[in-house]
């Protein structure tokens, strides 16, 4: 299975999926930590992938999303954005809407 297939499967199998550094209990980067806090505050039931545990996914997801940074949020197979966009969407109330509709 190629890295692209692996990433596709992960996105396919999880409605709300956050690619991050570390895990929600022990985030390894401020932006990943912020992303988890936002999802928690939005009441999201989400899964995470720790890219630090898989170098192929860590690099592969950047190409896959055409996005050079981690974290990255996917909801219903759609790329939502990184921490900055998540924060904007949270502040405008849009993120809660997308999550409750997922």
């Amino acid at each position: 299975m190629t890295t692209e297939d692996k990433i596709s499967n992960l996105i396919e199998e999880n409605k709300i999926l956050l690619f991050m550094k570390g895990n929600p209990k022990f985030p390894q980067c401020g932006f990943s930590s912020l992303a988890c806090q936002i999802l928690d505050a939005s009441g999201a039931n989400y899964e995470t992938v720790d890219v630090l545990q898989d170098q192929d996914v860590r690099e592969g997801i950047k190409t896959y999303s055409n996005w050079p940074t981690i974290p990255q949020l996917y909801i219903n197979k759609e790329f939502i954005g990184g921490a900055d966009i998540m924060r904007e969407m949270y502040e405008s109330g849009e993120l809660t809407k997308v999550i409750s509709g997922s």
Binding site: G30, F31, K62, N66, W67, P68, T69, F79, I80, G81, G82, A83, D84, I85, E88, M89
Partner: protein, 84 residues
């Protein structure tokens, strides 16, 4: 050490934009505001992708962390008025 002005210059050179402001003085963590007419009717993801593209691989190398805020010209006017 990488300075905010270095980042500003790269963005200005590589994309059409009205305003670029970059802050951050530790050489690793930066915050950028980019205002551009080409952002009209574009999703935030697309807008940020254009900025990343303008940075031309710097995100993978020199820049450790960059927080990006994008505005259309109209949004920027509203934002500035809101601050007054």
């Amino acid at each position: 050490m990488l300075s905010p002005i270095d980042i500003k210059n790269v963005i200005q050179r590589n994309m059409q934009c009205e305003v670029v402001e970059v802050k951050g003085d530790d050489g690793a963590h930066f915050e950028a505001i980019i205002v551009s007419n080409i952002f009209d009717n574009m999703s935030s993801v697309k807008q940020h992708q254009l900025v990343y593209k303008a940075l031309d691989g710097m995100m993978n190398e020199e820049i450790h962390a960059l927080s990006i805020k994008t505005f259309t010209t109209l949004q920027w006017e509203e934002f500035k008025n809101g601050e007054k």
